[in-house]
């Protein structure tokens, strides 16, 4: 089968974008249907690829190579493995549901969907690229549409948030770019020919000093996007200000770009550098988990709660990365997927409520389950996923991360800290999560009926698409984790083999 399925997944939004350019501005429904159709094509193809991916064989599949700039060894080469396939599926699900979550958009509809599709093209591109040049190129493509989407269609201090987000991401990516160029030049010298192919770059033996330096650059570059504490400041503001679909895509997928980059480029190319910096990541991620959850507890705005909960949940992903073993990395990737779906669900629902009630202040709500039972049900399922209820996708992921990091016998800071202690601290984050999630659910959706909100209509028609699709995904992968974990494991295995083959070196502390 020679159909370039990955390229098709990426280009479907581009085709949609070009069609929308030709549709007159007042044909809003046609524009929305076009966007939905384009993302639907991506989704169907992504599901197809997911099913067709042979994880018994593992490795990169659906390869396609086109020489691009031969003199610099740049190729348009795509392919997915067990790490990136779930991410492609995640992106396809989130953008498809995101389009439906924006169905009630009335302001400058044409431009909105053009920028939205531009954004998602970049995201798809990152996940399917096997070439470091294209990886970075797609990474950056996503940034500017984001600025305009938040700046034009956002709420709550949108211009400030949009600029802050853009500058954070760009400055971060500047560090990653330096790292990429330095890697390229180092490898070109060792190999004797220029290449940006990640697999080939991974065969080069980088000396230890170089690994430490470049991994640090990558840690900053991709860490901003994750976001790793203390580089997270852009994220709650950005999430809150962004329009619904963009929040979904942003928290659901874009943050995963950071973690994915850290694994794909950082861990895979510089295992020794990763070992050196892992303790730092491990300590910072605990701050993410606990601090993020605590801040989420005291928020008054629904969206801020979810914004900080993302900071907290991404801490688990980082813990999985820092523990550097099979279980924990499996968990990290699964958590990326699970959190992406869950947080997209949250933002879709909050967007629904906000659109009708024009406020997100938790204190003003109460008893919304009377008026909006479907929204309440969706939110409750999302909330339960968030606190790690068995039977939902997040449980599987968090369980693996905790087991993985707990079984890592390494002490830090001369024996004062160990991965066990860090794991226990991280698990305590679950308790705080339960507190804030249940608090929000109770104060917003349960309790006596408030007549003030009687005019609110429950989600119906196309508004149900995001809720149904996202909830179904959470349940599917929660009940049948093997559908996901076998796939991820086939991608993690070579990575872990590489890490274990690397020289054992002490961490930074």
């Amino acid at each position: 089968m020679n159909f370039p399925i990955l390229t098709a997944i990426m280009l479907a939004p581009v085709v949609g974008l070009l069609l929308i350019l030709l549709i007159p501005e007042r044909e809003e429904l046609t524009i929305k249907i076009t966007a939905a159709a384009a993302t639907f094509v991506s989704l169907v193809l992504a599901i197809l690829a997911y099913v067709l991916y042979d994880y018994g064989r593992g490795g990169l599949q659906f390869l396609q190579d086109v020489p691009w700039v031969p003199s610099f060894g740049i190729n348009y080469s795509v392919g997915v493995d067990g790490l990136s396939m779930p991410m492609v599926l995640l992106t396809a699900i989130v953008i498809f549901t995101g389009v439906f979550a924006s169905w009630d958009m009335t302001k400058r509809v044409k431009e909105f969907f053009i920028f939205l599709l531009m954004l998602v093209t970049g995201v798809f591109g990152v996940f399917i690229s096997r070439d470091l040049f294209f990886f970075y190129l797609f990474f950056e493509v996503a940034v500017i549409p984001m600025y305009l989407l938040i700046g034009i269609w956002g709420s709550t201090r949108k211009e400030y948030a949009a600029m802050k987000l853009t500058l954070y991401l760009l400055v971060g990516s500047a560090f990653a770019l330096i790292g990429i160029i330095a890697t390229f030049l180092y490898a070109a010298q060792q190999l004797g020919h220029a290449t940006f192919d990640i697999q080939t770059l991974a065969t080069v033996k980088y000396d230890l000093g170089f690994q430490k330096f470049v991994f640090f650059l990558m840690l900053i570059g991709f860490g901003v996007l994750v976001p790793i504490w203390p580089l997270h400041l852009w994220s709650p503001d950005g999430h809150v200000a962004a329009p619904t679909a963009v929040s979904m895509l942003h928290a659901g997928v874009l943050m995963k770009l950071g973690a994915y980059g850290l694994i794909r480029v950082g861990l895979f190319l510089f295992p020794e550098g990763a070992k050196y910096w892992a303790p730092l990541i491990a300590v910072l991620c605990i701050v993410n988990v606990v601090y993020g959850a605590m801040i989420a507890m005291v928020q008054k705005d629904l969206k801020f709660v979810i914004g900080y909960s993302s900071v907290s949940h991404m801490g688990y992903v980082l813990l999985g990365i820092a523990a550097l073993n099979t279980l924990s990395l499996n968990g990290a990737v699964a958590q990326m997927f699970a959190h992406g779906i869950m947080t997209a669900l949250f933002f879709a629902l909050v967007g629904n409520v906000y659109h009708k009630a024009h406020t997100r202040e938790i204190a003003r709500f109460g008893g919304l389950a009377h008026q909006m039972p479907r929204v309440a049900a969706g939110f409750l399922i999302g909330g339960l996923a968030s606190l790690g209820l068995p039977g939902l996708n997040n449980y599987v992921a968090e369980f693996l991360i905790f087991i993985g990091s707990f079984t890592r016998e390494q002490t830090l800071l001369g024996g004062i800290l160990s991965y066990r202690i860090l794991s226990i601290l991280a698990i305590s984050g679950i308790v705080i999560t339960a507190t804030y999630v249940l608090r929000v659910v109770k104060n917003t959706f349960f309790g006596p009926r408030k007549p003030e909100w009687d005019h609110l209509e429950d989600a119906r028609g196309v508004e149900m698409v995001p809720i149904v699709v996202l909830v179904a995904t959470l349940i599917l992968f929660g009940l049948l984790p093997s559908l996901q974990i076998d796939m991820i494991n086939s991608g993690v295995a070579p990575l872990v083999a590489k890490i274990e083959a690397a020289k054992a070196i002490g961490g930074i502390f």
């Binding site: 431009e111 493509v141 600025y147 600029m163 500058l167 400055v171 330096i178 160029i181």
Partner: protein, 476 residues
């Protein structure tokens, strides 16, 4: 005779310039609009001619070098002149007089740049430089009714004369120390004779003279005022083509005549590059006038280009050439959008751009994507250009310089986005009309937008062209 064939492009350019001058005198006042079309068609033809000669090489009259490097820059100058001519139709017609001279001067300035890019000898280099500078003085002061334009002309002529004097002094010192005005012979003299104090002093003066032409800090003072006052199309032309010409000559002189002193002058260029990138970008932030903003942005662009000089490598030259070509389309795109806006609204203030995206999606999109290309955001072509430039210096071990450069280009995103913010986030003022864009300008804008996109997504053809020319320059 064979050697004169190599000069085809220059001879035809001179003929076009003089022909336009004559045409301007012969055609009655009311029918002079056509002169612009003749100029544009002529420039387009010349561009094709220059491109078809891209592999030609040879030396004419002992000191005039035709090589792929020079021809690449000629194509670049002609592309910039063509865009400028198309951009000027309506603007010049509005000024209402002397249309013939305007286009003639434009073409003659291009001729000056060509000579500058091709001279392998210091006297003809100076000749080209003066031809370019003096025509630009007239063009900058072309808006007779505008005091700012006159100021621009005066500033350019005074400071230009001073910088020319400095350059000339440098040239004479180099001549005195090496005993020749031919670049190749100077290189031999330096290789055998070593670095005398006079030669080092001459190098510094040369550097200062060229730094003026390419608006490197601290020799940039003239540019914001001149850019603001000059007619907008002229500003665009000045900012891209004269800068590229400056770089072409700079590379020829420093890489060609003084390669043995590179340990010395690379240090100086590092200082210039750092100052230029930092100051250009930081001072651009508070600007409220689009032309001043673009002036500072173009100062900072010179800083990035200087990185290619600092790297002192084939890759560096190739990167300069690649970037300079994209810079033509990026910057001219921005200036064309500014011209289109000015033609309707008569303003250059950024706050008046509010809501432009609603009034004219095309003008706003051209401005936005041109600025993004200048900032180096993919998928615009500027990204690939910067990628090569930074790669060239990292390959020489200047990682800190690359970090500084990339961080500064992220700073530039901030002020470019302020323009985007006005255009896309702001609301158009009450009762504003849609921006009307003349068909010619519209086509030119779409073309340069497409070029930026296509070269950003598929940079290979231009990369190969630039890199091969660079290799040919280094290893003739």
């Amino acid at each position: 005779m064979a050697s004169l064939q190599l000069l085809t492009v220059e001879i035809l350019t001179a003929a076009l310039g003089l022909g336009l001058l004559a045409l301007g005198l012969l055609v009655p006042q009311n029918d002079r609009r056509g002169i612009g079309y003749v100029a544009a068609a002529g420039l387009a033809g010349l561009m094709v001619a220059a491109f078809s000669m891209r592999d030609a090489s040879g030396v004419v009259l002992g000191g005039y070098i035709i090589d792929p490097f020079g021809t690449y820059f000629k194509v670049l100058f002609l592309a910039a002149a063509l865009l400028t001519a198309v951009c000027s139709f309506e603007y010049v017609e509005k000024m209402g007089f002397n249309q013939g001279e305007y286009y003639a001067l434009l073409v003659l300035a291009t001729l000056g740049m060509m000579i500058l890019a091709s001279s392998g000898e210091l006297i003809s280099l100076y000749l080209g430089l003066e031809l370019m500078t003096i025509t630009f003085c007239i063009l900058a002061a072309y808006r007779l009714d505008d005091a700012k334009s006159a100021e621009a002309g005066i500033k350019y002529i005074l400071l230009g004369a001073m910088s020319s004097a400095i350059l000339l002094y440098g040239l004479s010192l180099v001549y005195g120390a090496s005993g020749s005005t031919v670049i190749k012979e100077i290189a031999q003299a330096v290789a055998t004779g070593g670095a005398s104090p006079a030669l080092l002093l001459g190098t510094i003066f040369l550097l200062a003279g060229f730094a003026f032409k390419v608006t490197a800090v601290p020799f940039h003072m003239w540019s914001p005022d001149v850019y603001e006052g000059a007619p907008t199309p002229v500003t665009g032309f000045l900012s891209v083509a004269s800068k590229a010409a400056g770089f072409a000559a700079l590379v020829r002189v420093f890489f060609g005549a003084l390669p043995d002193l590179h340990n010395f002058w690379v240090q100086l260029f590092i200082a210039l590059a750092v100052l230029t990138m930092v100051l250009g970008n930081l001072v651009a932030i508070p600007q409220t006038n689009i032309k001043r903003l673009l002036a500072y942005s173009s100062i900072s662009q010179a800083g990035y280009l200087l990185l290619g000089v600092v790297s002192f490598s084939v890759l560096g030259i190739g990167a300069i050439m690649y970037y300079a070509m994209l810079y033509v389309f990026g910057n001219m795109g921005a200036f064309m959008a500014a011209t289109a806006f000015y033609n309707t609204d008569g303003s250059d203030e950024i706050r008046d751009y509010a809501g432009l995206a609603r009034r004219s999606p095309l003008v706003a999109a051209v401005m936005l994507f041109s600025l993004l290309s200048l900032a180096g955001i993919p998928p615009m072509a500027g990204f690939v250009g910067k990628f090569y430039l930074f790669m060239s210096i990292i390959s020489r071990g200047y990682i800190w310089l690359a970090i500084l450069g990339i961080l500064m280009s992220m700073v530039s995103v901030y002020y470019y986005l302020l323009v985007a913010k006005a255009m896309y986030l702001g609301n158009p003022p009450e009762g504003s009309r849609p921006v009307r864009v003349a068909p010619g300008l519209q086509i030119a804008m779409i073309v340069s937008l497409l070029v930026l996109f296509l070269l950003g997504i598929y940079p290979t053809p231009l990369t190969n062209y630039a890199m091969n020319s660079a290799v040919a320059f280094f290893m003739p």
